[in-house]
Symmetry: C2
Subunit: 366 residues, 2 copies
């Protein structure tokens, strides 16, 4: 690019008609609303994280603060951690029923209720963070997500991304697929089903109990998030092998769920503030993860003698094959999952082709 | 991750003190401002693009619309294209002097005035889009940028990113460094200096004149942006070889410049809306680029018989070496450039190390 103006004549010659027209997602009536309501709103937000949880909880605190400033105090959002007012398990229902207005967590937590929900957080061997954002924001993903959650009176928002996670902590080395056989691995959700298909035995263990479970040998391995959060949890004290890449969470989008009835009661200006602050939080959280992870990875390796390992090729290929099988069965059983997965997969094919000449092509030279 | 609550006790045991405390970038006095001013503001924004230019201009139109909705019409921003009221060349001065309130362009356009400015847009063989955002938002980059622009009474905002660009259009194949010798290449800025160091002859040509210059053989090659925008410009009609990767622009951040005096006249709520809408536009533009580029790349290759080529290894290595030389001379001559480049390079070293176990490690398996 350069700073010189492209002549308008030249552009008009080369641009197809319509390209300069902008679609706006607010109705004309909304846009004309200029008189401001003085009505004050107090909302409750609950998360699936501990209060002020690093990055994820902090991001929600910032979100609430920004909305408060933008609204001049007309929309106050009180943010609670998991279990303070709503147990993490019950967050979806609490927002759906309007008991609270906002929930912040990850959509794959609701896979028991809505099998397709997980695709909006993370698909194993799926999209990375930048690709997820492209799919959601500019590729039609958000519209699908909104359609699915609308039945539950919830409006979803992309609100944070972890980036590529780590593959997990292991007490012994994983040298081949043989080492996965019978391995007791703490891994929830789709990742757990997939690693079980590959021969391991996945278990669900509460975050706060992973450490002692590893320590006592109840489990042989566990995945959590990435270096920053894993360091805080102290896993390096009870497992020395730290594996990458996080094939099961390649760029997990966090979700903000808002009760639709509550949202629609807001005047248009407050709605737009919520949308904007969520988008800002979405980017802020990813930036924080990306900026902080290496510092803690180095601490783990240099100060705590953690052995950093890449999963062997046969393990990754076996897990990828198991992913296709498990998702294949899942979408055969649920038409909505089939629709979402097909949409995301079609987008993925395109963006990966673009990545071949962009991100993938340049990364080795940076 | 999972949805189970990490026990608060466990977190407090493992989290260092202070980690849960949140820094907020607004003063307490600002936060307490709840009574809203009814004062109306009308701002002028000018860009370095044609009016409603695909993605970049459209993003600014959306930005203005979102601020209008959030502010209930208290802050109206009229967006103009380059040359409509301010020539692209004069945008920095116009914002600096307060003739207009907002400018949208790319910081490397002002390298003649502020040599270090370019590092906030794109460093050849530098950071990709996700890494740039991490540096700016969470790595200290924004603070440096703000410090440098403050002398000019301008507050900068990251407002858009092109992602990895293409390497450019050529009339003949580039098979080795020998083919660069004497090659007349339209490439502005630092990229132009670097390719000249590698033996080519870089020229500056206005966007609207690239097509005819290529057609008449005045130049042998030209870079512009990427498949979406390049397709619109019709370059495929006059040059058949389309090279990747865009080593000179690996994730160019677009900038929004706001006159500091004007910004500080806004009440805190309007300021926060501007900050939030800029952050939203920053993400929206990148998502649009990522989602659209492959569609146009396929059209170019399949419908227009464009020959897609990767730069040969020796060309990329030669350009990388030339980059180090040219930037080395640049920072030797300008202490501020030295400071910014050192900061960015230190961050880059960390985030690339993280990329080795995250993005770079997973991309081949997606």
């Amino acid at each position: 690019m350069d700073k010189k103006t492209i002549s308008r004549r030249h552009l008009l010659q080369t641009l197809p008609l319509g390209i300069v027209g902008l679609a706006c997602n607010r109705s004309e009536a909304d846009q004309k609303q200029e008189a401001r309501s003085e009505e004050k709103f107090t909302w409750i937000a609950s998360t699936t994280w501990s209060p002020h949880f690093p990055i994820l909880g902090e991001g929600m605190d910032l979100f609430a603060e920004q909305v408060k400033i933008m609204s001049g105090g007309r929309l106050t959002i009180k943010v609670y951690g998991a279990g303070e007012i709503v147990p993490a398990f019950e967050l979806f229902d609490a927002v759906s029923q309007g008991a609270i207005q906002i929930g912040h967590g990850a959509s794959y937590y609701w896979a028991g209720k809505i099998p397709s929900a997980g695709f909006f957080c993370s698909t194993p061997f799926g999209l990375n963070a930048q690709q997820m954002n492209a799919w959601l924001i500019a590729g039609g993903g958000m519209a699908l997500w909104e359609e699915i959650y609308a039945k539950y009176n919830i409006i979803p928002f992309a609100c944070g991304n972890t980036g590529v996670q780590m593959g997990g902590w292991f007490r012994k080395e994983i040298n081949s697929v043989a080492d996965l056989q019978g391995l007791k691995m703490r891994m929830p959700g789709l990742g757990g089903k997939i690693i079980s298909r590959a021969g391991a035995s996945a278990t669900q263990i509460v975050g706060g109990e992973i450490y002692t479970s590893l320590e006592r040998g109840v489990i042989d391995g566990a995945e959590w998030i990435g270096p920053y959060h894993d360091y805080k949890m102290g896993f390096y004290q009870v497992a020395k092998y730290y594996y990458y890449p996080g094939w099961h969470e390649t760029g997990s989008t966090l979700e903000m769920m808002i009760n639709k009835t509550a949202f629609e009661k807001l005047p248009p200006d407050l709605r737009e503030m919520v949308i904007s602050a969520a988008a800002r939080a979405n980017a802020w959280m990813l930036a924080e993860f990306e900026a902080k992870n290496n510092f803690y990875l180095k601490k783990l390796v240099q100060e705590e003698n953690v052995q950093l390992r890449k999963f062997p090729e046969d393990v990754l290929q076996t897990l990828k094959k198991a992913t296709e099988e498990v998702i294949g069965e899942m979408i055969a059983a649920d038409p909505i999952s089939k629709k979402v997965y097909a949409h995301q997969t079609a987008f993925k094919k395109e963006i990966l082709q673009w990545s071949e000449v962009s991100e993938k092509a340049i990364l080795p030279y940076l």
